[in-house]
Symmetry: none
Subunit: 127 residues, 4 copies
Amino acid sequence: MEFRDNQAIYAQIADLMCENVLSGAWKPGERIPSIRETAETSQVNPNTVVRTYGYLEEKGIIRNQRGVGFFLSDDAYEITRKLKKETFESRELPRMFRIMELLSIGIDDLQVIYDAHRDASGKEKAL
Amino acid sequence: MEFRDNQAIYAQIADLMCENVLSGAWKPGERIPSIRETAETSQVNPNTVVRTYGYLEEKGIIRNQRGVGFFLSDDAYEITRKLKKETFESRELPRMFRIMELLSIGIDDLQVIYDAHRDASGKEKAL
Amino acid sequence: MEFRDNQAIYAQIADLMCENVLSGAWKPGERIPSIRETAETSQVNPNTVVRTYGYLEEKGIIRNQRGVGFFLSDDAYEITRKLKKETFESRELPRMFRIMELLSIGIDDLQVIYDAHRDASGKEKAL
Amino acid sequence: MEFRDNQAIYAQIADLMCENVLSGAWKPGERIPSIRETAETSQVNPNTVVRTYGYLEEKGIIRNQRGVGFFLSDDAYEITRKLKKETFESRELPRMFRIMELLSIGIDDLQVIYDAHRDASGKEKAL
DNA sequence: GTGGTCTAGACCACC
DNA sequence: GTGGTCTAGACCACA
């Protein structure tokens, strides 16, 4: 697993798990991989995963059944969705709109720019 | 001045200055506030501003006239615009689209969500 | 059965059994539920109950008649009472008094606070 | 510094700091010892203190000024008091009353028992 | 100097 | 087997 530099690894793993919840790959109530398992899969130290799980548990997304493992809480989907939506609306979106205004980019241009850039970076990789 | 936790202060100050350039508040060639001045205005340690100016200078957005002060370079606008546009396309936009997909938000919804949230947070402040 | 997070499950089960003894629900000499039975009732792993019974046996509160089952010892009541009283005086009470001092709560306030909180949490459940 | 076995060290340190707040030894807004400082004072690993501070920050009791240190938040006293009071009322007190009922101890007996036990254990130490 | 993160490895209680 | 905690030590970004 590759990680970005500008964000803590434990947070990136948490993000991935949130995506698993939102995409429906992980169902509420389901058991998630053990700390050691995730650590091996992601090639990180178990302690790092401990932090990830601690964060998710605190948010109410997962819960610990002692001696058994971690499970998605029943409201995992709702909580995750609410969490992501809130930060999206209060943080990402305002920032986006400010940048768009400064660069004179309209909402209608977004799809075009996105597609163009994806194609370009895709071509780059292919080379 | 309030700063976000998830980004270095020096970078946030640099961002603000970039916005000044892009919005036209600061014109190419113009003198910008001294390190000491900015430090006082923003309530941060002068060392932090040193770092901001170092970063901007490295990017070619400002230049230092020794003993006189810092000035926007003649290409400040173009450089800043290119810089912002690049990171917007390669970093912000892809990230946005991924979140939007997970949350089932379409491009058409953006304006509505943005307005709604701005109104809501505005009302909150008013209370 | 619901368990608290901050205490081992085996200990919580032991506590419940001690309460049964002290309240008179269980009489000295009486047979107590089998490990398997308790495990099923409490929805825990039988190994956990084994530990509970081992602990209680070590304290002399119960004894094992091989092939037959577990029985309260004849002194079960006295032993349990002494045990509880000791930990109450040496651990719970001092802790309580320290907290009460920090929160400026007097002994005379206890009953009022307790009743108020019980009513409040009761009302909450009723909703 | 000596720590009890039945509670995590990082939590015990957090408790001590809460007591400092409640007792008025630490005033809201005040700077608290740095992580390294506390680690040395308490004779624990800095990482352990990191956890303590992380916990307190999450609760809103302290806040971090980047590169400078940790400070008690302005509401440190209120938050701490509320926190302690809540766990006292919802956890300690009900537990206490149940034990008292089982042991036939009345509220009026508490002070006597407490004093008696303190004297006894004090004498023990003196020997 | 400050805190933040990560690794490596250990020990423990618990299920 | 599970998670929880702690240590020791390292590196980093930041003020």
